[in-house]
Amino acid sequence: MGGVPTRSIVRAGLLGGAGAIYVALVGLYTKFADLELVGEQVTLGRVLIVAPAFVAAYAVTRPRVVAGERHLVALRGGLAVGALSGLIGAGLFAAALWFADWFGVDRIREVFVAITEPLVDFLTFDKGVPAGLPILIVLCAAGGVVGGFVRTAPAAIRRPASAGVLAVILLGLLQRIIPIVFVQLGFEADWLYERGAGLTWFGGLIVFVVAAAANALWNQDGGRTRERVRRNVGKAPAAKVGLFVAILAIMTILPLLLGTAISEVLGSVMIYVLLGLGLNIVVGYAGLLDLGYVAFFAFGAYTTGLLTGAFLNTTTGAATPALSADLNFYVAVWIVALLAAGVGLLIGAPVLRLRGDYLAIVTLGLGEIVSVLTASKWAQPLIGGPQGMRGVTKAEVFGLNFQDNPQHFYYLALAFVLLAAFVSWRLSTSRIGRAWNAMREDEQVADAMGVSTTKFKLLAFALGGAIGSMGGALFAVSIGSLTPASFEITVSITALAVVIIGGLGSIPGVLVGALVLIGLPGLLREFEEYRPLIYGGALVAIMILRPQGLVPNVRRSRELEDEEVSQDAWSRDAKGEAEAVAAVLPGGGLGVEREDLE
């Protein structure tokens, strides 16, 4: 059908249905049933009903390679295939719902706690099982049609339409921030957002139109505007500086606009940016997969506590740790970083000979050791064991309180982030960065070309450790009391996810990764308990759709860009076009050297 094998359609449909059932089983539907995105009708829960069918249809209408040729699915075929796969998925979903109703929701609930009467009511639109199912099926089929449309419609239509829909969903999700910003800036927000809920219908329409129009402008004349802007922003120094200043300005005023509650979220975003920047040196620059990064985070936090005169929590009250100093935070943090660099050397030394998987496993183990140590009886006289420590310094300076005022803390964290970003940037563009790069690409050859891999691996661990420990130090200041629960493997995984989703080796990528992974779930409290699920989903999606990350490293993006342009030129198969591209691309367009064509 439409060039898509029937088996693939059926399989995609069934996977979509299974996806919907999974979403129901983990309780996402009930959780988000009332989160209104636009008006009262479009809730996140309802979007999630459509989503599995959409994704399935989008996936199954992908271009296929048949006998070495790339076949696109035509629009009409795409819509039909999408509808069919949506219907199949809906059938499975509806059958499951029917079964649940017949078997008894309460009996299923003993195993799957999320299967409840309200869930059934939600999925059948309050009409009960047989009566509401057609609505569900129609909705899923529509999701499939849209999925097919988004894949197969002409670019001039699908790109603006997709941008519009995504913008509406995103702004709907940001319903707790944007109205505040509007009010702070002195604008009315009532026309855009319902009070305490999602976008109004009118607001949604405006957002859609604006986003779609912006996208259309961006992509006009076959994406040439886009390419030009991208090239200039990527290369021209003035554009780069301008972009940097703009981002910095936004980052500076953001907490003032958003108020205390959201600044708290931003503060934890900044802590993870710091962790991400440190880990980026180890993983992104040097290519050493470190799964035990929490070790540095914990070391930084506890050492800061010890050096600045925090107390141990004990059953009989506060006690002074076995080793303790009473330094000013701004003195202590440099000592912490220096010591952490030493810990980096200690962790780096035993793993020097390991690569890839083995390195990851050993660092995972070392991280676990540190986690366990923080909770151990053995370390109790020093860092408090399970009861932890409290009374970490508030790092007060100029009357600013960095513990009780999230807005102040944000600025403290921002200062450290800027420092770490500066150090990362300068290193990455130096002889040292080049050595790391060579080592990451081919360790043995880098060694043979004169790069001391021992030295540069240790350097990466030491610098990464120092920056990570600063993240820990700031974390200690921000919450004031330390317990082992804050220093578990999830920290390592989250920091790694931030780096990967942002784009390995990319400094702006770390910021974007942290905003997406820490900021978004932090803004919507409903997401909180699904954090790991979201991380998992985001990682899988990124790996499939955009393996280079959201804001890839310049080197890699340049390459992928060239490849894309060459491919476009190739597929157009028009001489004039190819020459135009060849003129733009210094390498001569098609990835083939001129010399070799002669």
Binding site: S430, A446, M449, G587, E593
Partner: protein, 263 residues
Amino acid sequence: MSAPEHLLELRDVAKHFGGLYALSGLTFHVDPGEIVSVIGPNGAGKSTMFNVVTGLYGPDDGSIRFRGANVVGLAPNQVTKLGIARTFQTVHLFPNMTILENAMVGQHCRTRSGVFGSIFRLPGTRREEQRIRERARESLGFFGSRLAGYREEQPASALSYANRRRLEMARALATEPALVMLDEPTAGMNPSETLELRDHIVRMRDELGLTVLVIEHDMRVVKGVSDRVVALDYGRKIAEGSYDEVANDPQVIEAYLGTKAAG
């Protein structure tokens, strides 16, 4: 030690992998300013010899001296720093780095900027970076315009096969070596590229004053460039001398063509 020293000297070098003797009792030397070719059938131990000399493997026995200094036990980067640069049998570039950056990595062992210099871009570091760039361009320039100009900023993966080989040699030259070890530099090249490369090898000695040790299968190249030829088989040296001597050596002929029906 008063006698004129060899540049590179291998004495009784042995290397075995499990029960397989890749090299045994290998003794030969390279003098300054020579071009020495190493020939031998596949599996004769030629590349293993390269790997042992450059520190990728440690030899199981024997001594290797470069300019009179012991090389055994050094890490590859230390050997490179002493002045031995190499290329690989299968091209090993840093594919995602630009062509210029590839060559700049070669300069690594001749430079010393550290963390603080890099973070604060101290004047010394900036000068050094400038010098790295110039030297890298010089090495790329050895191959004419092929690796120069706009190509500098292209990723190495965009190069044609022959140019990848050239870039690998330019990267080796950028380490400012005294001895260049080329592992089958003409493998996979077409006849005209092979001829051109033959000239490059000669120019490396005549213009850059380097000593060249080259593994080569193409006998026209071997004949054209070699001052001396060393033939290996089963990890042993079976012949050594001028091209004509070695080419007519019965053992060499036997190694390449097999024994006459022995019965």
